[in-house]
Homo-oligomer: 791 residues x 2
């Protein structure tokens, strides 16, 4: 669908002239931020005393970012648009800051950065200065939800932001360096998941300036013809603008951008008035301008403008080299700041008038401070989904299937601000109940045999953890709610995205005007212990390790052992803000332990003694503590406790289950940390603890640092052993089976010392028997696999 | 450049018939592996007793993989080609195993899997069976270097494999599920780095069967026109084959594949005879066939062949459902096994003759067992690059610049089997000396202002950690050497790739016929401590956490504190095989501590006492141990020791430096672990240890688990604090500064208890003074930043 739109003509020369003046001002402010600590309007001859001691920042991409900004301003005003600007090359931070300052929103967020010479100076001095603002687009930059520090995510963030935001347009500038990354290349496909009836639009602006830090860029060196084919292949209609003459580029870009906006509006009008038919061909812009455009052309005989040498600070030795200082002075004067700022240093009123007003200013757009727009989820009562548990560890059900029912009703009650993101595993992960009320979203041709696929579905399935994670980030940061459900091992594909999102949230927490946004919720399922059919590559719990490094104020890890705990934890996560919540639980039928009432209390405490499978009253000192965190770890622990009751009834065993992993560290390390009294109540002061853990044992070792006498904690967990095998063989291979746990008990309960050899031999025989059986019969020895529940 | 080639005609009907018979056999073996534990040739009526108890495997993709195999065989024979087959959809493991068995190479690697009925049965029984072979393509699959378990990497592995392998063709099957991942989408660009004069060729075969696990695929639903544009935009000439009639598809695919091979040969001939001119337009194939082709068409009234229901086991309840069992029997008989295998169960000789001979068989290709072809690097003597260190901690140099010189000469001596891979940061990381002997490789148009860029360069710069990592994996696994140099924080982009590569190596170590391959070496530079100009997003040492979870037999982490240690460590890593070696060191000017002789001894030990900055003879008990690992950690520790000597000379301080992080865990946890005596010699038995660590403190806490009395270790490290600021402010923000280390000493040396309050106040005043200074002056207080070396 390519709707026809009227021919667009260029703005008047007068308007172009004014826009160019804004652009000059933005470029000037960029350079000021990089270089100046005094003399902000170069009213005096420039001296070394005016120059910052450390010259930081990236000039190369900035003029292009500035150009796009002022042109968007024109169309926002003209058409009353709602636009968020995302800068892929976020190291052009000073460009965004400059424009947000010029339009006036910056001063509203930071009143000390006044719209006069004193404010200008503060603006310059704070940049890349201790206690000031960072050099990249950051949480401190009004109007942004995207740093662009780690390249690759501008389009996924943009697509996530416009989902269910029908009036929103995200102008997403993709640098040609960023365009080389895998995640970015994998994100062009986003339009195949955007429905113009209900979603907003992303306008990609591929900004080619030809170089990265040192080398040429892949797309920068490609012909227009090949770039056009590439974008057409992805379903876009590309529009090209190229040049280095500002006046000509202003004219061409104005026409191009307006054409693109009109196309977007026509597409949306058509779909909204006549209903969605086929996927539209969305516009995309390719803008080729020189790197470091309007900067020094030649320095010390080497070309700079238009080359990689313009990437960061093109004149880097102005403090030492008087010639360079002179060049900087001329460069600053070349923008004629005296024409742009009045005698007070205030941006000229007629230029300021180019900016839209109020929340239409991109620096003030509420979507970019999503907490302002957040509507808490209308959550069903999770206890309505309770699984009856008449007695613990008897029945097996698929816990995530129960969560699926909860999610189904969550969708029903929140039809426009909740989405599930998943790499094509919703059914596989037993969350299929959601398909009773919605479909997989796919904005491509559909055929009869498709199963719950539609243009209007809100289950976002795409085989890309990068897309899922990034879309959800964009959705969250614009104030909406979601869940990223993934095979546990492949969450690591998005490790670095979670790191960057955590950093953004960590930063936001210290900025008062940033309102809390819904948490990014992960469901890590199809876990390492039960990917026994897929094998070694699908067995990796490392995402937990990644998450516990985040600042305690944002990171949460939950390991519900059963369905009722899962429901309680999920409810908690969906109510929370500004966290990364990882919920780890498998999808296979698993034992159920707690009634809903018990689960609710257990999850509220985070960790507690399970008296029903302990062999020692909770207020008495046990011989040994069996601790567990994670569904399979819990199963093996409960089974080990049962085995011990059968075979060594004199050993006093206490079972402790941990749902909230962050209850383990001391309170001063994490706000969820148990206080010392509680820790000792659970784990005793000095006694041995056999700890079965879902993930790598080192996670527990590092979390309990600071707790009394850590050496007594003996942790079993995933030790990177695996293959395609049986479920019980997996716990045997990783030495976390019930039998291994019993062996640890035998080793660490002093009173068994006399019997140790005999008992260990007996348990070893059991393991051998199992191994023989499994190799001959392709399945687990039934009486071992089911020991605990055949009781 | 599109060379013309002769018109290709289809093979004779007779040959097509034979190839189809091979294909039927391969398909049959697929199903046998999934289902049968007895009656391998269905000579008897099928009963439940013949069926495995757990039905595992992925049928959907397998017929397509089988088709490609037999057609490659024909052309390998006809043209004497050297081909490695990489299966993106590696869950089609039984397909590869089937073909490798049919061609005879499997039996050479696994003599017990004989070419008769008994062998067939073993082949079936071992699949997805405990103690057998995994369900995915794995290290046990002859001819493979690519598992395809975590989707996304088939093309990067393929491109890495053909670099500097001029005669090699990698046929890389890209599934349409995989094609949706970011890393895969980001890897089509590989041809822009392949020079037909010196490199081999990758033939991508985009295999579209329309569905992932449950949902339709992006490319599967796209028009041929859009797919063609997409591939053309990337520089390929796409060839399409589509169908579900085996005979027709055989004919079409035979012509298509032969055309593609002839084009590759023509491209290479042209470039090798007449020299490289412009980037060729390489062929790519798009193959559309039904998912689960030739499998059950309808099951229980629902369509299966050609739908997502064919993804795994299309008849999953044959043990319970007699109708399904009957359908399975019919399905097996539909391939007419009695025509394919003789009375002994041996594959029919005239079909077997379709396979190439010896190492031309894809299962026997030596490139896929790269250790067989590995030539150890001709290493220059690293001590020739020694930095003179007349006295420690006086001079500052950029350590990685010295490594650059070593790498330069490494390139010189090893012109065809060493490459550096880097996301456009070779110069930024101070490794620019390599450009004295080689260039950045870029097979696109070049222009005059490019700096050391050529079609023949061997420095592989692309702004994609996925490409860099994946290419190097492919290069390593085919027996060649390399280094992936990256900004430390962005190594995490490839976290999951490192996990999967580690798993591959872990598996290989237990397969005798897999020869050791060169280690995958990482240089993590531009580290968290000195990305003070780029800020928070560039500050993340989490890759270390990721690596230490790998099995100890493959993971190594080195933190050389200075240039001479770096050279010694690098030399060691380049000599090693089958490891992932991470070397962590910054690029900024940094203090030098050890002479080359000292460095060599220090690195050999992995960790040792530095007497020159200790305040206590090594054989006497210190009041406190100051331990450090990492360049900035070492700098702060050495400075703290100096401060203590100045201000608290009575405190007996021992400084311990750790280069090899894996020296910390007990020997039974890691082969590099120090023995207990050494550990106590360095860290004492009971004394407090103030440990300054490069990364997250939890890393040290988990590594020292099992060492005596871990509670006495007080670890300072990166605690996720950062922004754009000064170098010293970074260590202050993260509480790892020399002053913080002194404060820890004051807290933990009992004899200072009386003075504790006064001393802590004095040090706190110092910190306050620094903070004020840095905010006013944009730089570090000189006398604090340089305290140690202005002595």
């Amino acid at each position: 669908m390519k709707p026809s739109i009227p021919q667009v003509s260029a703005p008047s020369d007068e308007l172009i002239e004014k826009m160019n003046a804004w652009w000059r001002a933005a470029n000037y402010l960029n350079i000021g931020q990089i270089y100046l600590k005094a003399n902000p309007l170069v009213k005096e001859p420039l001296t070394v005393d005016h120059i910052k001691p450390r010259l930081l920042g990236h000039w190369g991409t900035s003029p292009g970012l500035n150009l796009v900004y002022v042109h968007l301003n024109r169309l926002i005003k003209q058409y009353g648009l709602d636009v968020v600007y995302m800068a892929g090359p976020g190291h052009g931070g000073p460009a965004l800051v400059a424009n947000v300052y010029l339009e006036g929103s910056y001063t509203e967020f930071f009143p000390e950065i006044t719209r006069d010479e004193a404010g200008l100076l503060k603006l310059f001095r704070q940049f890349s200065t201790p206690g000031g603002i960072p050099s990249h687009v950051s949480a401190t930059t009004p109007g942004s939800i995207h740093e662009g520090g780690e390249l690759g995510y501008v389009l996924v963030h943009a697509f996530g932001a416009v989902m269910d935001n029908p009036e929103l347009i995200v102008a997403a500038v993709v640098g040609d360096g960023e365009a080389e990354t895998g995640p970015l290349e994998g994100s062009w496909k986003g339009i195949r998941f955007i429905n113009p009836e209900r979603d907003g639009a992303v306008l990609p602006i591929l900004h080619l300036n030809g170089y990265k830090i040192s080398g040429p860029t892949v797309w920068g060196r490609e012909s227009d013809e090949n770039i056009a084919r590439f974008l057409e292949g992805h379903g876009y209609e590309p529009h090209f603008v190229e040049g280095d003459d500002p006046a000509a580029v202003h004219r061409d870009f104005a026409v191009c951008l307006e054409t693109a906006i009109l196309k977007i509006q026509a597409i949306q009008k058509e779909a909204r008035e006549n209903g969605f038919t086929t996927r539209p061909v969305w516009p995309a812009i390719v803008l080729r301008t020189p790197k470091g455009w309007t900067g020094p052309k030649v320095v010390d005989g080497l070309p700079v403008e238009g080359t990689f040498r313009a990437h960061q600070v093109p004149l880097s030795t102005v403090r030492e080299n008087p010639t360079h200082l002179k060049m900087l002075e001329e460069w600053l004067h070349s923008y004629r700041p005296e024409e742009l700022f009045d005698e007070n240093g205030t941006f000229r009123a007629d230029l300021y008038a180019l900016a839209p007003a109020g929340d239409h200013r991109m620096g003030a757009n509420p979507h970019a401070n999503g907490g302002k727009l957040t509507i808490p989820l209308d959550l069903p009562d999770f206890s309505d989904y309770a699984v009856p548990v008449p007695s613990p560890a008897k029945e097996r059900i698929e816990s995530t299937r129960e969560l699926g029912k909860f999610l189904r009703d969550l969708y029903k009650r929140n039809p426009h601000n909740f989405r599930l993101f998943c790499p094509d595993e919703t059914n596989s992960n037993r969350l299929g109940a959601v398909f009773e009320v919605t479909d997989r979203c796919f904005v491509s041709p559909l055929i009869a045999i498709d199963d719950h696929v539609s243009h209007t579905g809100r289950v976002m399935e795409v085989l890309s953890e990068h897309n899922c994670h990034g879309w959800l980030e964009g959705y969250n940061l614009t104030g909406r709610h979601g869940l990223f459900a993934t095979y546990e091992a492949f969450a690591m594909v998005a490790d670095s995205m979670s790191m960057q999102h955590a950093k953004w949230l960590e930063h936001c927490r210290h900025i008062p005007w940033r309102k809390p946004v819904p948490s990014l919720n992960y469901l890590l399922t199809s876990t390492c212990w039960r990917n026994d059919h897929n094998g070694f590559s699908h067995q990796g719990p490392g995402f937990i390790d990644n998450l516990i490094n985040k600042r305690p104020e944002v990171a949460r890890v939950y390991l519900p052992p059963d369905a009722n705990c899962l429901l309680s934890v999920a409810d908690h996560c969906f109510r929370s803000t500004n966290y990364l919540n990882a919920i780890v639980i498998d999808k296979q039928p698993q034992l159920q332990y707690l009634t809903m009432e018990q689960a609710r209390a257990h999850c509220a405490r985070g960790a507690d003694i399970w008296t029903w499978c302990s062999n020692c009253p909770p207020d008495e000192e046990p011989d040994i503590v069996l601790a567990c965190a994670g569904d399979i770890a819990t199963q093996e622990t409960v089974a080990a406790a049962w085995l011990l009751r059968q075979h060594l009834p004199s050993v006093r065993v206490r079972v402790v289950n941990i749902v909230d992993l962050m209850a383990l560290p001391p309170r001063d390390k994490h706000p969820h940390g148990m206080d010392h009294t509680d820790f000792v109540r659970l784990f005793t002061e000095k006694g041995h603890v056999i700890f079965a853990f879902h993930g790598f044992p080192g996670v527990v070792h590092q979390l309990i640092h600071g707790r009394p006498d850590q050496d007594r904690f003996h942790v079993r967990g995933y030790i990177e052993e695996g293959t395609t095998t049986t479920p019980f063989d997996m716990v045997v291979l990783n030495k976390m089976s019930r039998i291994h746990l019993c062996q640890d008990v035998i080793r660490h309960v002093p009173r068994l010392a006399g019997e140790e050899t005999r008992l260990l031999q007996a348990t070893e025989d059991l393991l051998q028997k199992h191994r023989r059986y499994v190799r001959e019969h392709f399945e687990d020895l039934p009486e071992i696999a089911d020991w605990v529940w055949t009781d």
